[in-house]
Amino acid sequence: MTEFLPPPPATASPPQPAAQPSPEQLAPDGIFPPEGFRGLSAKGLSRSFGSVHAVVDMELLAPAGQVTALIGPNGAGKTTLLLMLASLLAPDTGSISVMGIDPVKDPTVARAKIGWMPDTLGVWESLTVREILTTMGHFYHLPKAGIPGRVEELLTLVSLSPLADQKARVLSRGQQQRLSLARALIHDPEVLLLDEPASGLDPGSRVALRRILRNLAAHGKVVVVSSHVLAELDEIADGAVFVNQGRTVLAQTVAQAADQGRRYCIAALDPAALAEALGNLGVEFSHGTVRAESVLVTVGSEVGAAKLLQDLMAAGVAVHDFGPATGALEETYMSMGVEQP
């Protein structure tokens, strides 16, 4: 019984249309219908390098005010996609819109709105932290008088103030990573593209990064984060785009997430009683992949979840754990059947 681990039905790719659209589940900030969409969008993107098709067909909707996660295995084309979104790489086909601006046609205007943090560290080693940020301010043509203040602000934000006058070469990997984030934020971009921002960060810095990103999203910025630290993303992302082998496999953005219920993890003192009660209620369930004694059910909405819990209590099942399945993104990811090239 416990060895039997069927794939979670609701999250298996391709996405299955569910009966009840519930947009608020992955979009707690509100509904973003595509026609009034504001943010970063890309459609039909492809890009090949010689015979290597890095990106075959990708689609992405990253609304303003949300953190959108870009998830996929190594070599899935995440970095290539971000390079195209950052206006560094021209797509072979497809279109990109950065707050309504095409970065291929009008890169200068788009770049003023884009902040990009690459996955490679890339620091000027012999310059100090403050010098690097100041220089970046000049590169973005920020008014000279405002640069020192802005630099100070960012140093505080990423807690690098004590190291402000140290050469970048003496910084640790995590500190360089934070410097890289500050560098991407220097011109207060509306769209923030982060390639593996959490790699190399200590737990404290991860929490700080999460707070910074949530705060940016709360201020109406578009935040796109690529990562494979999935537990991390569960907590900061509002939506996720799954990519594999150059294609968008699953987009749990607002529109698609509406068709998909949320998975809840239920554990009871008596698993058999729980199974029976669920069977009587007509709820399909599967056994969890994380904890053997728990089951996973798909619930259409939070209202549905509350109702289910009430029903289980009414049926006398001793439920001791009832909540959204942790590692939802992780399970989606695992169910994608990712093949490492």
């Binding site: 026609e35 969409f37 969008s41 390098f49 309504g100 990009w116 890339g122 012999s126 000049h138 008014p143």
Partner: protein, 406 residues
């Protein structure tokens, strides 16, 4: 799918600047790139080490030249050359030696500063960070070029004391130093610009540095070889008549005439009426006939591109009309300049008795070759920088094999 929506730009980010503002902004971007580059260079120890090695080397050259000149004069004291007819002093010699070595070392050092400017950033992952900002490819190139040029010019500054030493030793005017430094600076600038351009086209610093050195070698030696080979292929003819050397005393035949086959080797004194042109030494006479010669002027442009020729040719040498007889009084650089100008003038001007005219022994300063040479160098440089600019444009279309943008 999405609707275009205008959103206010981030504070302080004015994306549609006015015309004059645009220019100022462009300049600001260049100075930001340059400032960053210079700051990095000034903090690298290698630069200082190279500067001190340079100082010692040039100093050695100056001292050795001076010592060898001293030795030379001591010896000539016993020879038949009266001291007052000697060259003016060790000044020109030291000056030329230092100048030649400064140019030579400069050509060696300049690629080291410039040829990793962009490929180095590319391999360190910092190029894309600059490209994603509002910097334009032109600003990147200008900033990197100016920074590497300034770093190279520091080497010139360090060698100024030795050039001044040469001037103090006598024989040359201050104007010499000034023009020589100007031309050296221009040549270093050309090499730096070439290096920066090549570094934008290459993926790895090592590759761009090697290619830049090869290009410098091509300019320094390749032009000479190409000129030589080109001259072999540039056979032509020139119309000229006979030359009669007045000072050569021919053994006259008893009857005043030379008989048989030897007659061609013993030209008779020409009739006054046949002489088309003459000076103290020789005369041109007789009908114009076609002579086989090398039309060097067709390939002189190759020679002109040589950095040494450009520098040598640009220096104003004192007029030699006063000391017409001392053909050997000129220094190496002046000889280079004269040689290049001879090939540029071609047989029409230099072939003896071409078109019945006496060929001048010394070509005047009024037909400089260096503008052509420097112009061609700049043309090549501009071409490479144009390609570099294309390679730096983003969003990038085609990428070279194995390139990763970031």
């Amino acid at each position: 799918m999405t609707t275009t929506e205008t959103t206010p730009s981030a504070p302080g980010l004015d994306t549609v600047p006015g015309q004059s503002n645009k220019f100022r902004r462009y300049m600001n971007g260049i100075s930001a790139v340059m400032g960053m580059e210079l700051r990095q260079r000034l903090r690298s120890r290698g630069w200082y080490i190279m500067l001190s090695i340079w100082f010692v080397l040039i100093g050695l050259v100056a001292v050795l030249t001076w010592v060898s000149w001293q030795a030379q004069t001591n010896r000539t004291d016993f020879s038949y050359v009266p001291p007052d007819q000697l060259v003016e002093g060790p000044g020109p010699l030291i000056f030329e030696a230092v100048l030649a070595f400064v140019l030579f070392f400069g050509l060696l050092v300049a690629p080291a500063f410039s040829a990793n400017a962009i490929s180095g950033d590319r391999s360190a992952g910092t190029l894309a960070i600059m490209q994603v900002t509002l910097l334009r490819p032109g600003q990147l190139l200008w900033g990197k070029f100016l920074a590497s040029w300034i770093a190279a010019l520091a080497f010139l500054v360090v060698s100024v004391p030795f050039l001044v030493f040469g001037i103090i030793q006598g024989g040359l005017g201050v104007g010499y130093i000034f023009i020589a430094l100007l031309m050296l600076a221009a040549e270093l600038g050309v090499v730096c610009a070439l290096g920066v351009g090549i570094s934008a086209l290459a993926n790895r610093p090592l590759f761009s540095i090697v290619v830049t050195y090869l290009v410098v070698a091509l300019l320094s030696f390749g032009t000479l070889i190409a000129f030589g080979l080109g001259a072999l292929l540039s056979n032509g003819t020139v119309l000229a008549n006979q030359t009669y050397y007045k000072e050569i005393v021919y053994a006259p035949a008893p009857n005043g005439e030379v008989e048989g086959e030897d007659s061609q080797y013993y030209p008779v004194t020409p009739n006054k009426a046949d002489i088309t042109d003459e000076n103290n030494e020789y005369a041109c006479y007789g009908p114009l006939v076609e002579n086989q010669t090398t039309r060097t002027e067709r390939v002189a442009w190759l020679l002109a591109m040589n950095p040494f020729v450009v520098v040598a040719d640009a220096i104003p040498y004192p007029s030699h009309s006063a000391q017409e007889q001392s053909y050997y009084g000129s220094g190496v650089f002046e000889s280079i300049s004269q040689g290049a100008r001879y090939s540029q003038a071609g047989p029409n001007a230099t072939f003896q008795c071409a078109n019945g005219k006496i060929a001048p022994q010394y070509l005047e300063q009024d037909k400089p070759l260096w503008p052509l040479g420097l112009g061609l160098q700049l043309l090549v440089t501009a071409g490479i920088l144009g390609l570099a600019w294309r390679a730096l444009r983003t969003p990038a279309g085609k990428l070279a094999k194995g390139t990763r943008i970031a």
